[in-house]
């Protein structure tokens, strides 16, 4: 049996982020052991200056970083983190939910040239609109296996944010609105041969995501898995270190995250 990795919660983490880390680590007791400092993995609170905290942890010897709920960051800082070549997993609301990796091959089967990917979420607060759009785009890239470029605000209101972008041949429409329901993300891609949809629960929920692929022959539902995105992200860290995987989270995030070092239009 592999020895558990040690996990340290960054001292700057807010109590809610610490609670997330502890609760999640408690579900992977054979993979992680919490230690007060010098852990193999350092959990950073994404609500603060997380790129700076990540660089500090890496400088102190962390083998991998988990950033919970990363907010915006400057591209310069993201590049600095990327250049360290230390694995960093971004625990954004939906990307690492297991349903995303299970359904993404089906997204990539759709002949969607000239078509459109829709992504939507309803969030509880206006303050979450911008980062939810970034998280939707971050997840959409994983679903499509392709970079998203040219993100532009189309409608920005206190309770609504719609952003358009594209891959090399698909229009991307991302929409976040405020409302009183759980922040489940929903994606749909319709092409000339098939349609695929996925609903990804909010990151703290262990409810199963639901992904379906429909073509002329059948409607396929990918296997259910009742694992929260937080747990999937932490479990991924273990696989990254044990299997020497190279996550692309920072590079992918930089592509869709507004550059925090520049003025960004705000909702």
């Amino acid at each position: 049996m592999t020895e558990p990795l040690t996990l340290t919660i960054d001292s700057a983490a807010t109590p809610p982020a610490q609670n997330i880390a502890r609760a999640t680590a408690a579900t992977l007791p054979q993979s992680f052991r919490l230690v007060s400092g010098g852990g193999d993995v350092v959990m950073i609170d994404g609500r603060g200056a997380w790129t700076e905290r990540s660089l500090a942890a890496i400088a102190s010897g962390a083998k991998a970083i988990l950033v919970v709920d990363p907010s915006g960051a400057s591209h310069e800082n993201l590049t600095e983190v990327l250049d360290t070549e230390v694995p960093v997993i971004l625990d954004t609301p939906w990307r690492h939910n297991g349903v995303v990796s299970r359904i993404s091959p089906y997204f990539q089967k759709v002949d969607a040239h000239g078509g459109m990917l829709e992504a939507r979420v309803t969030v509880p607060s206006s303050s979450l609109l911008r980062e939810s759009i970034t998280a939707l785009a971050f997840t959409a890239q994983a679903l499509l296996g392709a970079p998203i470029i040219g993100l532009e605000d189309v409608a920005a209101r206190p309770d609504h944010l719609t952003v358009f972008g594209s891959t090399h041949d698909i229009l991307i429409r991302l929409s976040a609105v405020t409302g009183p329901i759980p922040a489940n993300a929903w994606f749909r891609l319709a092409g000339s041969n098939a349609m695929v949809t996925v609903t990804v629960p909010s990151s703290e929920s262990g409810a199963s995501g639901v992904g379906t692929f429909t073509d002329a022959d059948a409607k396929i539902t990918v296997p259910f898995a009742f694992e929260s995105a937080h747990r999937s992200a932490l479990a991924l860290i273990a696989r990254v270190l044990h299997q020497r995987l190279v996550p692309t989270d920072i590079a992918d995030f930089r592509r869709v995250c507004p550059d925090g070092s520049r003025a960004v239009s705000s909702s």
């Binding site: 969607a112 040239h113 000239g114 078509g115 459109m116 829709e118 309803t122 189309v154 409608a155 209101r157 309770d159 609504h160 719609t162 358009f164 229009l171 429409r173 929409s175 609105v177 405020t178 409302g179 009183p180 329901i181 749909r188 319709a190 092409g191 000339s192 041969n193 098939a194 349609m195 379906t212 429909t214 073509d215 002329a216 409607k219």
Partner: protein, 347 residues
């Protein structure tokens, strides 16, 4: 049982008449009977009339002049709607059901409204979703809760019409689809306008009902393949999203959603043409979800029962102001979105 049966004349023996109105009127056979079918294609008119046990002609004026025709259904291309609806009004018919859109311009719609008011002939637009029982119940509750939508989404992801028509009937003389726009019409503009006035038109009156009054500004309009559109607009302080997409093998999804700070309304409608009962409407707030429907009766059936209630005096008919406003709303979006698609395509 109905107390009396009304004679119906179908102007345009197109798939809508064959797949929607004929089966619906058969279900209401104690209240309506098709007595006359007219189509410019005499063969199609004859064949469809034969099915219905009706007489036939190859022009609308003969049908409108037929004294046995009490209710006229206009299912011709949009450019003929205004003249034919007005002619039916002036002929003193009992009612006119016009397929959507009511007309090609607001001035035409105003002329229809004026003719209807002058003659007292009620005019109904065949917006079947507006007659859906679950939608009506959900909307009543939405209004009761005084919800104000900051976002309204209408989305139709559907197979091509023939796919659905074939579930509803066996079509005679199916017209060939136009694969390219008429000469001189920008292709992107044609797709966007065609989607708004051919597909979104089903739900724009519902969207208008959920949105505040206010100026319409289309912010983005993209044609999407194989045949669809994505439009984002503001209406007053709210946002309207329009998504339409027609493909070969997809699972149909036809929805209207409204989102407010206090709750969400969502209606899932069944596929068009088929008689699959009503939609299902849900209202979700922070505490619970209330679901309306599904009901056995579909919007097509309710549409004709609505007409019957008008004919028998059970329902009074107001002026056509709301129908004219619905058309003006749709045309405004179609014009702005079409122009945006054209200029973006040209850039």
């Amino acid at each position: 049982m109905g107390e009396r049966s009304y004679g119906v004349g179908l102007v345009g023996a197109v798939p809508v008449a064959q797949a929607i109105h004929l089966p619906t009127l058969e279900r209401l056979g104690d209240r309506f009977s098709v007595v006359h079918v007219a189509d410019v294609n005499a063969t199609v008119a004859q064949q469809v009339a034969l099915r219905a046990g009706a007489r036939w002609s190859d022009d609308a004026s003969s049908l409108i002049a037929d004294p046995d025709v009490e209710v006229v259904v206009i299912g011709t291309p949009d450019r003929f709607h205004a003249d034919q609806v007005i002619a039916a009004c002036l002929a003193g018919k009992a009612a006119v059901l016009c397929e959507k859109p009511l007309a090609e311009s607001v001035s035409e719609a105003n002329a229809i409204a004026e003719a209807s008011a002058r003659t007292g002939v009620p005019v109904i637009v065949g917006t079947m979703h507006a007659f859906d029982t679950s939608w009506i119940s959900g909307l009543r509750e939405w209004d009761h809760r005084r919800m104000t939508a900051h976002t309204v989404r209408i989305s139709a992801v559907l197979p091509p019409n023939p796919w659905a028509e074939d579930f509803a009937t066996q079509i005679t003389g199916r017209p060939q689809g136009r694969s390219t726009p008429p000469r001189g019409i920008d292709p992107a503009m044609a797709i966007v306008r065609g989607n708004v006035l051919g597909l979104a038109i089903h739900d724009l009156p519902l969207a208008r009902r959920l949105l505040p009054d206010g100026p319409v500004t289309v912010l983005a309009a993209h044609p999407i393949k194989p045949w669809g559109v994505e439009i984002v607009a503001t209406v007053g302080d709210s946002v309207l999203e329009i998504h339409g997409s027609v493909g070969v093998t997809w699972e149909p999804k036809w929805t209207v959603e409204a989102i407010s700070e206090g709750g969400l309304l969502r209606t899932d409608f069944p596929l068009s043409y088929v008689h699959a009962g009503s939609g299902t409407t849900s209202i979700t707030d922070g505490e619970q979800t209330t679901v309306y429907g599904p009901h056995h009766d579909d919007g097509y059936l309710n549409e004709w029962e609505h007409i019957y209630d008008i004919l028998t005096g059970e329902l009074s008919v107001g002026d056509l102001g709301s129908l004219v406003a619905d058309l003006a709303f749709a045309l405004d979006i179609a014009d702005q979105a079409g122009e945006l698609a054209r200029t973006k395509g040209a850039a």
